[in-house]
Protein backbone atom coordinates (compact mmCIF):
# COMPACT_ATOMS: atom_id res chain seq x y z
CA UNK A 1 0.00 0.00 0.00
CA UNK A 2 2.62 2.54 1.13
CA UNK A 3 4.91 1.24 -1.60
CA UNK A 4 2.27 1.97 -4.24
CA UNK A 5 1.72 5.51 -2.96
CA UNK A 6 5.47 6.17 -2.85
CA UNK A 7 5.82 4.81 -6.37
CA UNK A 8 3.10 7.02 -7.83
CA UNK A 9 4.16 10.15 -5.99
CA UNK A 10 7.76 9.61 -7.11
CA UNK A 11 6.61 8.96 -10.66
CA UNK A 12 4.65 12.20 -10.75
CA UNK A 13 7.57 14.13 -9.26
CA UNK A 14 9.93 12.59 -11.80
CA UNK A 15 7.75 13.66 -14.72
CA UNK A 16 6.98 17.10 -13.31
CA UNK A 17 10.67 17.81 -12.59
CA UNK A 18 11.52 16.53 -16.05
CA UNK A 19 9.06 18.99 -17.59
CA UNK A 20 10.50 21.77 -15.45
CA UNK A 21 13.93 21.17 -17.00
CA UNK A 22 12.62 22.60 -20.26
CA UNK A 23 10.23 25.16 -18.86
CA UNK A 24 12.68 26.96 -16.62
CA UNK A 25 14.92 29.67 -18.03
CA UNK A 26 17.97 29.24 -15.81
CA UNK A 27 20.90 26.88 -16.22
CA UNK A 28 21.11 26.13 -12.51
CA UNK A 29 17.43 25.38 -12.20
CA UNK A 30 17.42 23.19 -15.29
CA UNK A 31 20.34 21.13 -13.93
CA UNK A 32 18.83 20.68 -10.52
CA UNK A 33 15.35 19.97 -11.88
CA UNK A 34 16.97 17.13 -13.78
CA UNK A 35 18.69 16.00 -10.57
CA UNK A 36 15.33 16.06 -8.76
CA UNK A 37 13.80 14.00 -11.55
CA UNK A 38 16.52 11.38 -11.23
CA UNK A 39 16.23 11.32 -7.45
CA UNK A 40 12.53 10.56 -7.88
CA UNK A 41 13.45 7.71 -10.25
CA UNK A 42 15.86 6.45 -7.58
CA UNK A 43 13.03 6.54 -5.03
CA UNK A 44 10.87 4.52 -7.45
CA UNK A 45 13.59 1.88 -7.63
CA UNK A 46 13.68 1.87 -3.83
CA UNK A 47 9.93 1.28 -3.84
CA UNK A 48 10.64 -1.81 -5.97
CA UNK A 49 13.00 -2.91 -3.18
CA UNK A 50 15.95 -2.53 -5.50
CA UNK A 51 17.84 -0.85 -2.68
CA UNK A 52 21.30 -0.79 -4.14
CA UNK A 53 20.28 0.41 -7.59
CA UNK A 54 17.96 3.05 -6.17
CA UNK A 55 20.56 4.52 -3.84
CA UNK A 56 23.25 4.38 -6.51
CA UNK A 57 21.01 6.24 -8.97
CA UNK A 58 20.48 8.98 -6.39
CA UNK A 59 24.19 9.13 -5.56
CA UNK A 60 25.45 9.22 -9.12
CA UNK A 61 22.86 11.61 -10.48
CA UNK A 62 23.17 14.23 -7.76
CA UNK A 63 26.95 14.15 -8.11
CA UNK A 64 26.71 14.35 -11.87
CA UNK A 65 24.22 17.22 -11.90
CA UNK A 66 26.25 19.20 -9.34
CA UNK A 67 29.15 19.09 -11.78
CA UNK A 68 26.99 19.48 -14.87
CA UNK A 69 25.50 22.71 -13.53
CA UNK A 70 29.03 24.15 -13.45
CA UNK A 71 29.68 23.08 -17.02
CA UNK A 72 26.34 24.45 -18.19
CA UNK A 73 27.19 27.81 -16.70
CA UNK A 74 30.84 27.74 -17.77
CA UNK A 75 30.54 26.54 -21.31
CA UNK A 76 27.47 28.29 -22.65
CA UNK A 77 29.69 30.21 -25.01
CA UNK A 78 27.65 33.36 -24.85
CA UNK A 79 27.40 36.16 -22.45
CA UNK A 80 23.83 35.73 -21.34
CA UNK A 81 24.42 32.20 -20.08
CA UNK A 82 23.14 33.52 -16.80
CA UNK A 83 20.35 35.56 -18.30
CA UNK A 84 16.92 34.06 -18.44
CA UNK A 85 17.00 31.98 -21.57
CA UNK A 86 14.94 29.30 -23.17
CA UNK A 87 16.08 25.74 -22.57
CA UNK A 88 14.36 24.56 -25.74
CA UNK A 89 15.85 24.59 -29.21
CA UNK A 90 14.43 23.28 -32.48
CA UNK A 91 11.05 23.18 -30.83
CA UNK A 92 9.01 21.69 -33.68
CA UNK A 93 11.38 18.81 -34.50
CA UNK A 94 11.84 18.08 -30.81
CA UNK A 95 8.09 18.00 -30.18
CA UNK A 96 7.50 15.59 -33.07
CA UNK A 97 10.35 13.29 -32.10
CA UNK A 98 9.29 13.30 -28.45
CA UNK A 99 5.68 12.56 -29.31
CA UNK A 100 6.57 9.72 -31.68
CA UNK A 101 8.98 8.13 -29.23
CA UNK A 102 6.50 8.43 -26.38
CA UNK A 103 3.64 6.92 -28.38
CA UNK A 104 5.92 4.16 -29.64
CA UNK A 105 7.21 3.24 -26.20
CA UNK A 106 3.80 3.49 -24.54
CA UNK A 107 2.25 1.35 -27.26
CA UNK A 108 5.02 -1.21 -26.89
CA UNK A 109 4.55 -1.30 -23.13
CA UNK A 110 0.82 -1.81 -23.43
CA UNK A 111 0.53 -3.96 -26.54
CA UNK A 112 3.41 -6.41 -26.30
CA UNK A 113 2.20 -9.62 -24.70
CA UNK A 114 4.79 -9.74 -21.92
CA UNK A 115 5.56 -13.26 -20.67
CA UNK A 116 4.57 -14.17 -17.14
CA UNK A 117 7.31 -14.17 -14.56
CA UNK A 118 9.05 -17.54 -14.61
CA UNK A 119 11.28 -17.46 -11.54
CA UNK A 120 11.18 -15.65 -8.23
CA UNK A 121 13.35 -12.65 -7.35
CA UNK A 122 16.48 -13.50 -5.42
CA UNK A 123 16.34 -13.14 -1.67
CA UNK A 124 19.21 -10.65 -1.64
CA UNK A 125 18.93 -8.50 -4.74
CA UNK A 126 22.14 -6.60 -4.07
CA UNK A 127 24.08 -9.86 -3.89
CA UNK A 128 22.52 -11.24 -7.07
CA UNK A 129 23.31 -7.97 -8.82
CA UNK A 130 26.90 -8.29 -7.69
CA UNK A 131 27.02 -11.93 -8.79
CA UNK A 132 25.73 -10.94 -12.22
CA UNK A 133 28.17 -8.08 -12.64
CA UNK A 134 31.19 -9.88 -11.25
CA UNK A 135 30.23 -13.34 -12.51
CA UNK A 136 28.78 -14.00 -15.93
CA UNK A 137 29.11 -10.38 -17.10
CA UNK A 138 32.63 -10.00 -15.75
CA UNK A 139 34.22 -9.92 -19.19
CA UNK A 140 31.92 -7.14 -20.41
CA UNK A 141 32.58 -5.10 -17.28
CA UNK A 142 36.30 -5.64 -17.51
CA UNK A 143 36.23 -4.38 -21.08
CA UNK A 144 33.80 -1.52 -20.72
CA UNK A 145 35.21 0.14 -17.62
CA UNK A 146 38.82 0.55 -18.85
CA UNK A 147 37.50 1.88 -22.17
CA UNK A 148 35.28 4.42 -20.40
CA UNK A 149 38.10 5.38 -18.09
CA UNK A 150 40.54 5.76 -20.96
CA UNK A 151 38.01 7.94 -22.77
CA UNK A 152 37.74 10.28 -19.81
CA UNK A 153 41.51 10.52 -19.41
CA UNK A 154 41.99 10.97 -23.15
CA UNK A 155 39.39 13.71 -23.36
CA UNK A 156 41.00 15.50 -20.42
CA UNK A 157 44.48 15.28 -21.93
CA UNK A 158 43.25 16.54 -25.30
CA UNK A 159 41.01 19.19 -23.84
CA UNK A 160 43.35 20.65 -21.25
CA UNK A 161 45.03 23.81 -22.48
CA UNK A 162 48.25 23.15 -20.55
CA UNK A 163 50.25 20.11 -21.53
CA UNK A 164 53.22 18.51 -19.83
CA UNK A 165 55.72 20.49 -21.88
CA UNK A 166 54.30 23.70 -20.49
CA UNK A 167 54.40 22.25 -17.00
CA UNK A 168 57.78 20.50 -17.05
CA UNK A 169 59.60 22.43 -19.77
CA UNK A 170 60.34 21.63 -23.42
CA UNK A 171 62.65 18.74 -22.55
CA UNK A 172 60.67 17.81 -19.45
CA UNK A 173 63.72 19.01 -17.56
CA UNK A 174 62.00 20.42 -14.46
CA UNK A 175 61.71 18.30 -11.34
CA UNK A 176 58.52 20.03 -10.35
CA UNK A 177 55.87 21.56 -12.57
CA UNK A 178 55.47 25.27 -13.18
CA UNK A 179 51.77 25.80 -12.51
CA UNK A 180 49.89 29.08 -12.09
CA UNK A 181 48.71 27.81 -8.73
CA UNK A 182 50.74 25.12 -7.09
CA UNK A 183 49.22 21.84 -5.95
CA UNK A 184 49.82 20.28 -2.56
CA UNK A 185 52.21 17.53 -3.56
CA UNK A 186 54.18 19.27 -6.27
CA UNK A 187 53.79 16.75 -9.06
Amino acid sequence: MIGTIVFWVAALVAVAAGVEVFRTDSMARASYALAASFVAVGVMLLAFELDYLGVIVILMMVMEMAIMALFMIMLMGMNPALMPMSMVHGKRTATVVAAVVFVGLAAAALLIPWPDRAGAPAADLTRSLGDAVMGSKMLVMLTVSPVLFATIIGALVLGHPRDRYQRYGDDLERDHPDDPIQGGVGR
Binding site: Y32, D51, Y52, V62, M65, L70, Q182, G183, G184, R187
Partner: protein, 308 residues
Amino acid sequence: MPEVTTLQPWWAALAPVTLLTLAAAGAAMAGAQTARRRGDGPLVAATTPLTETWRLLRQRRRVPVAADRVLWHVAVGGLPVVAVLMAVVVPLGSVVLVDSPVGVVWFNAMDVMLWALWWLAGWGPNSTHSLVAGHRFLGLALAYELPLMFALTSPAIAAHSLRLADVASAQQGLWFAVWMPVAFGVYLLSAVAFSSWGPFAVAAHSDLAGGVLAETSGVDRWLVLAGRHLVLAAAALVAVPLFLGGGAGPVLGPVAWTLVKALVVLAVLELSAGRAPMIRPERFAEVGWMVLLPATVLQMLVAAGGAS
Protein backbone atom coordinates in the same frame (compact mmCIF):
# COMPACT_ATOMS: atom_id res chain seq x y z
CA MET B 1 22.80 -11.74 10.65
CA PRO B 2 22.31 -9.80 13.89
CA GLU B 3 18.80 -9.20 15.11
CA VAL B 4 17.78 -5.60 14.70
CA THR B 5 14.19 -4.53 15.19
CA THR B 6 12.88 -1.87 12.85
CA LEU B 7 10.95 0.72 14.81
CA GLN B 8 7.45 1.75 13.87
CA PRO B 9 7.41 4.77 11.55
CA TRP B 10 6.10 7.20 14.19
CA TRP B 11 9.36 6.86 16.06
CA ALA B 12 10.81 8.84 13.16
CA ALA B 13 9.64 11.99 14.91
CA LEU B 14 12.28 11.30 17.56
CA ALA B 15 15.14 11.14 15.07
CA PRO B 16 15.45 14.89 14.44
CA VAL B 17 15.13 15.58 18.17
CA THR B 18 17.85 13.10 19.09
CA LEU B 19 20.16 14.31 16.37
CA LEU B 20 19.51 17.94 17.29
CA THR B 21 20.42 17.20 20.90
CA LEU B 22 23.64 15.58 19.79
CA ALA B 23 24.35 18.47 17.43
CA ALA B 24 23.67 20.98 20.22
CA ALA B 25 26.23 19.18 22.35
CA GLY B 26 28.66 19.43 19.46
CA ALA B 27 27.92 23.10 18.92
CA ALA B 28 28.44 23.72 22.63
CA MET B 29 31.85 22.02 22.46
CA ALA B 30 32.87 24.14 19.47
CA GLY B 31 31.45 27.25 21.13
CA ALA B 32 33.33 26.48 24.33
CA GLN B 33 36.58 26.19 22.42
CA THR B 34 36.05 29.51 20.63
CA ALA B 35 35.01 31.23 23.84
CA ARG B 36 38.04 29.90 25.71
CA ARG B 37 40.33 31.23 23.00
CA ARG B 38 38.68 34.60 23.25
CA GLY B 39 39.02 34.56 27.02
CA ASP B 40 35.37 34.07 28.03
CA GLY B 41 34.20 31.99 30.95
CA PRO B 42 32.93 28.39 30.66
CA LEU B 43 29.31 29.31 31.39
CA VAL B 44 29.19 31.69 28.43
CA ALA B 45 30.81 29.04 26.33
CA ALA B 46 28.23 26.37 27.03
CA THR B 47 25.31 28.67 26.29
CA THR B 48 26.70 29.95 22.97
CA PRO B 49 24.41 27.77 20.81
CA LEU B 50 21.37 28.96 22.74
CA THR B 51 22.16 32.66 22.60
CA GLU B 52 23.01 32.36 18.92
CA THR B 53 19.74 30.53 18.24
CA TRP B 54 17.79 33.20 20.10
CA ARG B 55 19.60 35.95 18.20
CA LEU B 56 19.08 34.43 14.76
CA LEU B 57 15.45 33.47 15.25
CA ARG B 58 14.70 37.10 16.08
CA GLN B 59 16.66 38.43 13.14
CA ARG B 60 14.90 39.48 9.97
CA ARG B 61 15.65 37.65 6.77
CA ARG B 62 17.32 39.78 4.14
CA VAL B 63 17.23 38.69 0.50
CA PRO B 64 19.61 40.30 -1.99
CA VAL B 65 18.43 41.64 -5.32
CA ALA B 66 17.71 38.99 -7.95
CA ALA B 67 18.46 36.08 -5.63
CA ASP B 68 17.34 32.65 -6.74
CA ARG B 69 15.05 32.15 -3.79
CA VAL B 70 13.84 28.66 -4.68
CA LEU B 71 17.29 27.09 -5.03
CA TRP B 72 18.54 29.04 -2.03
CA HIS B 73 15.75 27.70 0.17
CA VAL B 74 16.40 24.18 -1.08
CA ALA B 75 20.02 24.53 0.00
CA VAL B 76 19.31 26.12 3.37
CA GLY B 77 16.50 23.76 4.33
CA GLY B 78 18.22 20.77 2.79
CA LEU B 79 21.18 20.67 5.17
CA PRO B 80 19.24 19.59 8.29
CA VAL B 81 17.10 17.21 6.24
CA VAL B 82 20.12 15.46 4.73
CA ALA B 83 21.71 15.21 8.16
CA VAL B 84 18.66 13.45 9.57
CA LEU B 85 18.45 11.14 6.55
CA MET B 86 22.11 10.27 7.07
CA ALA B 87 21.46 9.25 10.65
CA VAL B 88 18.25 7.19 10.30
CA VAL B 89 20.12 4.07 9.12
CA VAL B 90 22.29 3.91 12.25
CA PRO B 91 21.27 1.08 14.60
CA LEU B 92 20.85 2.29 18.17
CA GLY B 93 21.36 -0.82 20.23
CA SER B 94 18.91 -3.40 18.95
CA VAL B 95 16.58 -0.95 17.21
CA VAL B 96 16.87 1.03 14.03
CA LEU B 97 14.55 3.37 12.17
CA VAL B 98 15.40 2.26 8.65
CA ASP B 99 17.09 -1.11 8.44
CA SER B 100 18.57 -0.48 5.02
CA PRO B 101 20.46 -3.42 3.54
CA VAL B 102 22.68 -0.86 1.81
CA GLY B 103 23.19 1.56 4.73
CA VAL B 104 26.81 2.27 3.79
CA VAL B 105 25.86 3.32 0.27
CA TRP B 106 22.92 5.29 1.63
CA PHE B 107 25.29 7.31 3.82
CA ASN B 108 27.49 7.88 0.78
CA ALA B 109 24.52 9.10 -1.27
CA MET B 110 23.55 11.54 1.47
CA ASP B 111 27.07 12.96 1.68
CA VAL B 112 26.98 13.49 -2.07
CA MET B 113 23.75 15.47 -1.55
CA LEU B 114 25.93 17.96 0.29
CA TRP B 115 27.78 18.70 -2.96
CA ALA B 116 24.54 20.03 -4.36
CA LEU B 117 23.49 21.81 -1.19
CA TRP B 118 26.71 23.74 -0.56
CA TRP B 119 26.92 24.82 -4.16
CA LEU B 120 23.28 25.87 -4.20
CA ALA B 121 23.82 27.80 -0.97
CA GLY B 122 26.54 29.68 -2.84
CA TRP B 123 24.49 30.14 -5.98
CA GLY B 124 21.24 31.22 -4.37
CA PRO B 125 22.03 34.66 -2.96
CA ASN B 126 23.43 36.11 -6.19
CA SER B 127 26.67 37.34 -4.68
CA THR B 128 30.24 36.95 -5.89
CA HIS B 129 31.68 35.82 -2.58
CA SER B 130 29.00 33.20 -2.03
CA LEU B 131 29.32 31.86 -5.55
CA VAL B 132 33.11 31.60 -5.37
CA ALA B 133 32.78 29.76 -2.07
CA GLY B 134 30.23 27.34 -3.54
CA HIS B 135 32.51 26.57 -6.45
CA ARG B 136 35.44 26.19 -4.10
CA PHE B 137 33.52 23.59 -2.12
CA LEU B 138 33.01 21.50 -5.23
CA GLY B 139 36.75 21.70 -5.87
CA LEU B 140 37.32 20.24 -2.43
CA ALA B 141 34.55 17.67 -2.90
CA LEU B 142 36.24 16.30 -6.00
CA ALA B 143 39.36 15.75 -3.91
CA TYR B 144 37.85 14.00 -0.87
CA GLU B 145 34.95 12.06 -2.36
CA LEU B 146 36.79 9.18 -4.04
CA PRO B 147 39.07 8.46 -1.09
CA LEU B 148 35.94 8.60 1.10
CA MET B 149 34.17 6.07 -1.12
CA PHE B 150 37.04 3.63 -0.82
CA ALA B 151 37.28 4.31 2.91
CA LEU B 152 33.60 3.37 3.22
CA THR B 153 34.11 0.27 1.11
CA SER B 154 36.81 -1.20 3.38
CA PRO B 155 34.56 -1.97 6.40
CA ALA B 156 31.84 -3.23 4.07
CA ILE B 157 34.28 -5.64 2.43
CA ALA B 158 35.55 -6.88 5.76
CA ALA B 159 31.99 -7.39 7.03
CA HIS B 160 30.71 -8.91 3.75
CA SER B 161 27.73 -6.58 4.00
CA LEU B 162 26.57 -3.07 3.27
CA ARG B 163 24.16 -3.16 6.19
CA LEU B 164 25.38 -1.05 9.12
CA ALA B 165 24.16 -3.54 11.75
CA ASP B 166 26.16 -6.30 10.05
CA VAL B 167 29.23 -4.09 9.81
CA ALA B 168 28.94 -3.30 13.52
CA SER B 169 28.60 -6.95 14.57
CA ALA B 170 31.48 -8.02 12.33
CA GLN B 171 33.83 -6.18 14.71
CA GLN B 172 33.43 -8.56 17.65
CA GLY B 173 37.13 -9.10 18.08
CA LEU B 174 38.70 -5.89 16.92
CA TRP B 175 37.33 -2.51 15.90
CA PHE B 176 37.77 -1.68 12.25
CA ALA B 177 39.23 1.67 13.35
CA VAL B 178 42.18 -0.27 14.75
CA TRP B 179 43.11 -2.38 11.77
CA MET B 180 41.84 0.07 9.13
CA PRO B 181 43.39 3.28 10.40
CA VAL B 182 43.75 4.78 6.93
CA ALA B 183 40.08 4.28 6.14
CA PHE B 184 39.06 5.68 9.53
CA GLY B 185 41.36 8.67 9.12
CA VAL B 186 40.02 9.45 5.66
CA TYR B 187 36.47 9.08 6.98
CA LEU B 188 37.04 11.64 9.76
CA LEU B 189 38.79 14.01 7.40
CA SER B 190 36.00 13.76 4.84
CA ALA B 191 33.35 14.24 7.52
CA VAL B 192 34.97 17.55 8.42
CA ALA B 193 35.25 18.39 4.73
CA PHE B 194 31.67 17.66 3.70
CA SER B 195 30.43 19.65 6.67
CA SER B 196 32.64 22.53 5.48
CA TRP B 197 34.02 22.77 8.99
CA GLY B 198 37.36 23.31 10.73
CA PRO B 199 40.38 23.26 8.42
CA PHE B 200 38.09 22.43 5.50
CA ALA B 201 35.62 25.28 6.01
CA VAL B 202 36.08 26.37 2.42
CA ALA B 203 32.40 27.14 1.79
CA ALA B 204 32.02 29.46 4.76
CA HIS B 205 35.20 31.28 5.61
CA SER B 206 36.18 34.85 6.40
CA ASP B 207 38.56 35.06 3.42
CA LEU B 208 35.44 35.20 1.25
CA ALA B 209 33.44 37.38 3.65
CA GLY B 210 31.74 34.32 5.10
CA GLY B 211 31.33 32.55 1.74
CA VAL B 212 27.90 30.98 1.44
CA LEU B 213 27.01 32.74 4.69
CA ALA B 214 27.92 36.19 3.31
CA GLU B 215 24.31 37.07 2.56
CA THR B 216 22.53 34.64 4.85
CA SER B 217 20.65 36.05 7.82
CA GLY B 218 17.95 35.20 10.30
CA VAL B 219 16.39 31.76 10.28
CA ASP B 220 18.23 30.89 7.04
CA ARG B 221 21.53 31.44 8.75
CA TRP B 222 20.41 29.38 11.72
CA LEU B 223 19.45 26.52 9.42
CA VAL B 224 22.86 26.54 7.72
CA LEU B 225 24.82 26.80 10.97
CA ALA B 226 22.67 24.21 12.76
CA GLY B 227 22.64 22.07 9.63
CA ARG B 228 26.40 21.98 9.72
CA HIS B 229 26.47 20.74 13.31
CA LEU B 230 23.72 18.25 12.47
CA VAL B 231 25.76 16.84 9.58
CA LEU B 232 28.80 16.55 11.87
CA ALA B 233 26.65 14.77 14.47
CA ALA B 234 25.23 12.39 11.84
CA ALA B 235 28.72 11.61 10.55
CA ALA B 236 29.85 10.91 14.11
CA LEU B 237 26.88 8.55 14.62
CA VAL B 238 27.59 6.64 11.41
CA ALA B 239 31.24 6.23 12.39
CA VAL B 240 30.18 4.14 15.40
CA PRO B 241 28.80 1.06 13.55
CA LEU B 242 31.24 1.58 10.70
CA PHE B 243 34.53 1.72 12.59
CA LEU B 244 33.99 1.61 16.35
CA GLY B 245 32.24 -1.68 16.96
CA GLY B 246 28.69 -0.30 17.17
CA GLY B 247 27.07 -0.57 20.60
CA ALA B 248 29.53 -3.13 21.95
CA GLY B 249 31.07 -2.33 25.32
CA PRO B 250 31.07 -3.36 28.98
CA VAL B 251 28.59 -2.38 31.72
CA LEU B 252 26.65 0.30 29.83
CA GLY B 253 23.98 -0.78 27.37
CA PRO B 254 24.47 -0.70 23.60
CA VAL B 255 22.40 2.49 23.21
CA ALA B 256 24.55 4.31 25.74
CA TRP B 257 27.75 3.02 24.17
CA THR B 258 26.65 4.13 20.71
CA LEU B 259 25.93 7.61 22.01
CA VAL B 260 29.14 7.82 24.05
CA LYS B 261 31.27 6.76 21.10
CA ALA B 262 29.41 9.18 18.83
CA LEU B 263 30.05 11.99 21.29
CA VAL B 264 33.76 11.24 21.34
CA VAL B 265 33.94 11.23 17.54
CA LEU B 266 31.85 14.39 17.45
CA ALA B 267 34.25 16.07 19.86
CA VAL B 268 37.16 15.22 17.57
CA LEU B 269 35.32 16.64 14.56
CA GLU B 270 34.02 19.77 16.29
CA LEU B 271 37.27 20.64 18.04
CA SER B 272 39.19 20.59 14.78
CA ALA B 273 37.92 24.13 14.27
CA GLY B 274 40.58 26.83 14.25
CA ARG B 275 43.44 24.52 15.18
CA ALA B 276 45.16 24.59 11.83
CA PRO B 277 45.25 26.87 8.81
CA MET B 278 42.68 26.22 6.13
CA ILE B 279 43.51 23.33 3.83
CA ARG B 280 42.85 24.91 0.46
CA PRO B 281 41.24 22.83 -2.27
CA GLU B 282 43.96 23.75 -4.77
CA ARG B 283 46.50 22.12 -2.48
CA PHE B 284 44.35 19.29 -1.22
CA ALA B 285 43.34 18.09 -4.69
CA GLU B 286 46.76 16.57 -5.32
CA VAL B 287 46.86 15.07 -1.84
CA GLY B 288 43.43 13.52 -2.32
CA TRP B 289 44.20 11.98 -5.69
CA MET B 290 47.87 11.12 -5.35
CA VAL B 291 48.20 10.17 -1.69
CA LEU B 292 44.83 9.37 -0.13
CA LEU B 293 43.31 7.53 -3.08
CA PRO B 294 46.15 4.99 -3.43
CA ALA B 295 46.32 4.69 0.35
CA THR B 296 42.62 3.87 0.64
CA VAL B 297 42.85 1.37 -2.20
CA LEU B 298 45.67 -0.37 -0.36
CA GLN B 299 43.60 -0.23 2.79
CA MET B 300 40.80 -1.92 0.90
CA LEU B 301 43.15 -4.72 -0.16
CA VAL B 302 44.21 -5.17 3.46
CA ALA B 303 40.58 -5.27 4.50
CA ALA B 304 39.81 -7.85 1.83
CA GLY B 305 42.81 -9.93 2.90
CA GLY B 306 41.87 -9.71 6.57
CA ALA B 307 38.29 -10.68 5.86
CA SER B 308 38.82 -13.78 3.76
